[in-house]
């Protein structure tokens, strides 16, 4: 069941540009939905619209099937982690976390226990008596997160709650938040520009770019079949290879070699082939060969960057082979997954497949 639904939402800031023109989305009850997109694409605005902190210029917002356009934030009972933390500077960490509970008349013992539990999970126990001014950015961010998770809310909105943590802490917090979500089963909308967070935590991912939803789906769906070249290049590290191929004598060719792609619309003269780095492997007997430029050693495997004709290309290799600059390497394409894009519309050509 959809617990949050946005229908034809338009948002324009006072005499500013239009952020959303006709945005439609629905968030399923109990899901951990991640909204991912580059900086400035409207993620925070979207979250604030759901929280009731921002009025829409058009369209409808339904929460639990009730039209809530005019319901103010304080009547929505939604917990939120603010991107800029919004901690009260005159309260200690413990007071900040427990403040909402106290205002809603919770018992002292209950507040204390909840704050204690949250602090343990967030590794903040040592800082409970400090003031925000004495905390690092990452610590403040965890306090902001703590303030949301002590609440008993049906919906949790989190605006980049881990963006300021170091890599190790971020990895632990990802697991903690996933566990917490599994425990509470509360609907969570989580905003990030970090695709690792999106891929690892989400039941459902919404990719947002320039105020337009590019794709909605599970991590798997989005990773294996990006709906357009933006999603293809945004999700995945390093991003999907996007190789231009054009028709020669009716066949799509790359580096002069025919590729055997079928079901391409007849009027398509060019197309873009999408290939994940792990779907390309080195081989001795391929007429398609790249020139190695840089090798990134990731430990378990390595990313070999280079050029194919004039186009950049990268593949993943886990064989510990030694590559050197200028070396020519034959390439083999894994043809199990078909991703082809129209260079004009940038959209995926749904029918086209490898033969």
């Amino acid at each position: 069941m959809a617990i949050i639904e946005l229908k034809h939402v338009r948002k324009q800031y006072d005499k500013g540009e239009t952020i959303f023109n006709d945005l439609n989305l629905s968030i399923q009850e109990g899901d951990f939905t991640v909204i991912v997109g580059p900086s400035g694409c409207g993620k925070s605005t979207l979250l604030r619209i759901m929280a009731g902190l921002e009025q829409v210029s058009g369209g409808e917002i339904y929460i639990a099937d009730k039209l809530e356009n005019d319901v103010p934030a304080k009547k929505r009972n939604i917990a939120m982690v603010f991107q800029n933390y919004a901690l009260y500077p005159h309260m200690t960490v413990a007071k900040n976390i427990g403040f909402g509970l106290k205002m809603r008349g919770a018992k002292k013992a209950v507040i204390k226990e909840k704050v204690q539990n949250a602090a343990e999970m967030l590794d903040l126990t040592a800082y409970l008596d400090k003031y925000p001014a004495d905390l690092s950015g990452g610590q403040m961010q965890r306090v902001a997160l703590g303030r949301a998770i002590v609440r008993d809310s049906k919906i949790y909105l989190m605006d980049e709650p881990l963006s300021n943590l170091d890599a190790k802490l971020r990895a632990t917090m990802r697991v903690e938040l996933t566990k917490l979500h599994r425990q509470m089963q509360a609907t969570t909308v989580y905003v990030t520009h970090d695709q690792t967070e999106a891929m690892t935590m989400a039941d459902r991912i919404i990719v947002l770019y320039e105020g337009v939803i590019q794709q909605t789906g599970t991590a798997d769906e989005i990773y294996t079949h990006p709906a357009n070249t933006f999603v293809a290049s945004f999700i995945g590290i390093p991003p999907m290879n996007l190789l231009q191929a054009s028709r020669q004598d009716g066949e799509f060719c790359l580096a002069g070699q025919p590729l055997n792609i079928s079901k391409v619309p007849a009027d398509q003269t060019d197309l873009i082939i999408g290939l994940r780095p792990e779907d390309i492997s080195p081989t001795f007997d391929s007429p398609i060969a790249m020139t190695v430029d840089v090798v990134e050693n990731m430990g378990a495997d390595q990313y070999v960057h280079g050029t194919l004709g004039a186009q950049p290309i990268v593949f993943r290799d886990s064989s510990h082979t030694h590559y050197h600059q200028g070396q020519s390497v034959g390439l083999h394409f894994n043809r199990h997954i078909s991703n082809f894009y129209d260079p004009q519309t940038t959209q995926r050509l749904e029918e086209a497949t490898w033969q």
């Binding site: 902190l53 934030a73 009972n77 603010f82 009260y88």
Partner: protein
């Protein structure tokens, strides 16, 4: 690259701005302290040293003790309403975005208009026969006191005029402080479903506490120095009911020409002001968030 100034250059640059301070403040202060140990009468060229006599006489005099009481009463009942009303005004005005500039200048007007002129207008308003205030009160069948000739009411006319003069100024300071609080703190309070009252008491008031402290000190000092409204409206009367410490100082010095006692009193006022400021700053360490 920084040039390291030598000690004397530094001293020189420090000393120059200190000259006016020395001429207009430190020097007169020293002269006052010295005068307070004499019986100079403001006119004659001769005087005698009387030691602490001025102080002992002053502190034990009935006039002085009464003036302390009046000053206290006047200060408490002026400063508290100024701060409370100023704060409430600022909260209300904060919601009016567009007319704000106009209202700001309106609020500032009483503070910059000379008090003498305004006090004359007020003395007409409070006039018990022809004043508009009592005419309104009569029309409403409310008690209309003899504002300026009844001792109790006279003090309140002074208080009302002082509040009227200072409240807009306080509201401006609060308005500025409120506008500097990040909006997201109130949004966080909204998300936590706080009521308006909870937002004011738990978020707004603590966050403007530096302004509250500042206003407390400034307004107390302003009350200690109140003179214009007293001299125009009541001249310390009736029967000394509005004679504050400063007004007593004026009477001692420039009506009774007891310059020694007057300067002794001025030193007492100075010490009281200094102690009050010190206490306020001390308290602030525990209750003010910066």
């Amino acid at each position: 690259m920084a040039i390291k100034p030598n000690k004397w250059t530094l001293l020189l640059f420090l000393a120059i701005p200190l000259i006016p301070l020395a001429v207009f403040w430190i020097f007169p202060l020293l002269v006052s302290i010295w005068l307070s140990f004499t019986d100079w009468d403001y006119i004659s060229p001769t005087f005698h040293y009387v030691g602490l006599n001025n102080y002992t006489q002053l502190l034990s005099s009935h006039d002085f003790q009464a003036a302390v009481g009046h000053t206290l009463y006047y200060t408490v009942f002026s400063v508290i309403p100024i701060i409370v009303i100023g704060f409430l005004l600022a909260v209300l005005l904060n919601r009016l975005k567009y007319t704000y500039k106009f209202i700001q200048s309106l609020l500032f007007a009483p503070w910059v208009t000379p008090m003498i002129g305004m006090a004359i207008v007020w003395s007409w308003i409070f006039n018990s026969q022809i004043g508009p205030l009592n005419q309104v009160l009569h029309a409403l069948h409310l008690p209309a006191p003899q504002w300026l000739s009844n001792p109790q009411a006279a003090m309140w006319t002074i208080i009302i005029v002082t509040i009227w003069k200072n409240v807009g100024w306080a509201a401006l300071f609060y308005g500025d402080a409120i506008s500097k609080i990040p909006r997201s703190l109130f949004e966080a309070a909204d998300v936590e479903s706080l009521s308006i009252w909870q937002k004011i008491t738990h978020v707004l008031i603590p966050l403007v506490s530096p302004t509250t402290l500042f206003l407390f000190i400034v307004e107390i000092l302003d009350c200690l120095q109140a003179y214009d409204q007293i001299t125009v409206l009541t001249q310390g009367g009736p029967a000394g009911a509005t004679r504050t410490l400063l007004y007593l100082y004026y009477e001692l010095g420039f009506k009774q020409f007891q310059m020694g006692s007057a300067t002794a009193l001025s030193i007492v006022i100075l010490v009281v002001a200094a102690i009050l400021s010190f206490i306020a700053i001390r308290l602030s360490r525990h209750h003010v968030y910066y």
